[in-house]
Structure formats: C-alpha cells, structure tokens
Symmetry: C2
DNA sequence: CTCGATGCAAAGTATTTGCACCTAT
DNA sequence: ATAGGTGCAAATACTTTGCATCGAG
C-alpha cells in the first residue's frame, strides 16, 4: 500500500465528483470547480463561512448560496462528512477511503484532536447486530479539557 | 438498590433544581415550576417546540423565551442533557444519576433506540488517557436503518 | 438550444436579546 | 424595596429558496 501523492489525491477527488455529477445528470461548472479546489486545498475542518471568506480573499467569486448548494452535493457524493461540534452551524471534514476517526473537542481552547479506536468501531457493530440495526454512519465526540487547558485551570 | 417511585424521582428533580437556583441566587418562579413539571412528566426525548405546545395545550401559559431560558438552566444544573440527532434544533433528555446511554437513530422512521455498552465507555476513557484529555461528557450516535425499515426497503 | 446552475435578495428556522413591566424573596 | 424574571417583538445566525438570467453539454 503506497501513499498517494497530494496531486493524485486531488485528482481522485475531482474524478469522484465528476462521476457523481454525471450519474445524476448534473453539470461541472466553474463555480463547482473553484469550490472543490478550495475544499481540498487544506486538510482541516471548516465551515461554510470559512470557505466563503477564503474564496473571496483569493479574488475568485462564488455566492454564498452556491457554497451551500455545493457542500451538500459533496456530502451526498461521499467526499465530505458533516461533523457536529455542538455549535449551531455545520462543520465539514474530508472523507478518506474507509478510514474513520472520531473527535476529542476541548471546551477550553476549542482544539480538536482526532483519534481512531478499532475496538470501539467493532463494539458499535456488535451493538447494531444486537438490535438488528443496519448502520450507515456514526459520530462519537468527547468533550472535555485538553492537556494544556487542564494546566491553565490549575494555575 | 430499590427503585424510586415516580413521585420520589420528581421530588428529587425539584430538590436539585431548587438547590441549583439558590446557589446561584436565582428565583423559583411559577413559570419555572410549570416547565419543570412538564419536562419530567414523560421520559421521552423532546424539543423546545414540543414542550411549548404541550404546555399551551394544557391551558398554562409560558412564553417561548422563558422555555428556552429555563431549558438552559436545566442543562446547566445537570438535570437535562442536550442530545443532537443531526437536525438543526436541540433535543433534550433526562439525566438519571450516572447512567449514560447512547443512541441508534433510524434514518427511515426516525425511531431512536437507546443502548448502553460499558466496554465502549471504558475504551473512551482509555483514549482520553492516551491523549491526556480530561473528559466531561460525550455523545455517540449511530445512524442507519432499524429492523422494520430494512424490511421495508427490501420489499 | 435546453435544462440545470448561479446570484441576489427574500424567506425560513431555531434561538437569543432589549426593554418595560412584574414578582419572589 | 430590589434584584431577578417575564412576555413580547425585534434581532441574530445559519441555511434554504424563488426567480430572472446565464452557461455547460
């Protein structure tokens, strides 16, 4: 299993999006191209507003409505996942193949730590089996204080 | 360990709320009394809107603003927990002592199945230890199809 | 050429807030 | 008496939608 280069990854995102659009009879517009590029330019979590700002600052121009419409498409085609961190607006992150991770959310500084724990995933499947439930996705997030913020509180 | 009667439980909720209010120099008003009664009248998950409707239909009168303000108090004093089911508005459920459960959410019929899995809780603590993270609360929810809805899809 | 896409502004939701009046303590 | 509380309506924050126009295939 060789690691894919950033370029290859980027191409595969575009590939996947193109296939999705074609399968639904939708079009690959300039705006969708621009948004796709920005979404996959960094690997951080982001919000619709962040994306809008970044694109505006770069000089390119896409309306807020189109941002929202396109983010929904990207979620539906499996390139993005919506992760909720307790705030009222949506946060998004990239989906990489089958890899799944969960989040530790610091109530102090807002930092988000990603972790994976195979055993928890396995136990979730066991729970689903027990209830004859067919899982499609899941979210696990633990809120608390990161190491740095614990020390800040003690002082 | 004897089971507490519904009456006893209800009293203990009121007790806890009263103590919380006193500790913060807040007042126990008629409106807060009414809301408290309705919140603990049933054991189901509910939303602010549900509560407002129920109270209005009963003939008692509390404004929407007061509902929201009081729900926040009840969350802060540990009597309610906010559970998020992917919708844009908040859902609440009762907190019973230390017992914690998580949710299976059916994308078909909206049914919510509660489950507890000690081992998952234990593994979460292990993860926190690994990252020197101090957990305060967590949410795990699995979305998918319940048994009934799986059959409906097959047909 | 045709139908889907875009931008804009208006409409929705869910929740919070400012303020004048009210009431528990 | 005096903070804190309440209702109301207006304000907010995020997201969706209607519609006239635009552009990809």
């Amino acid at each position: 299993m060789s690691k894919k280069s950033a370029l290859q990854e980027n191409l595969s995102y575009e590939q996947k999006f193109l296939e999705y659009l074609k399968s639904k009879g939708l079009r690959f517009t300039t705006e969708r191209q621009v948004i796709l590029n920005w979404v996959f330019k960094s690997h951080k979590h982001f919000e619709a507003e962040d994306l809008l700002m970044d694109i505006r600052q770069s000089g390119e121009r896409v309306s807020k409505a189109t941002i929202y419409r396109t983010l929904n498409l990207l979620v539906n085609c499996g390139l993005l996942r919506e992760v909720i961190f307790g705030e009222k607006h949506s946060h998004y992150e990239h989906v990489h193949g089958d890899e799944h991770h969960d989040h530790l959310v610091c109530n102090g500084c807002g930092k988000i730590i990603e972790f994976t724990e195979e055993e928890i995933e396995r136990l979730q499947d066991a729970v689903c089996l027990r209830y004859r439930f067919l899982p499609a996705s899941h979210r696990l997030q633990i809120q608390g204080l990161c190491h740095g913020c614990q020390r800040a509180v003690k002082e």
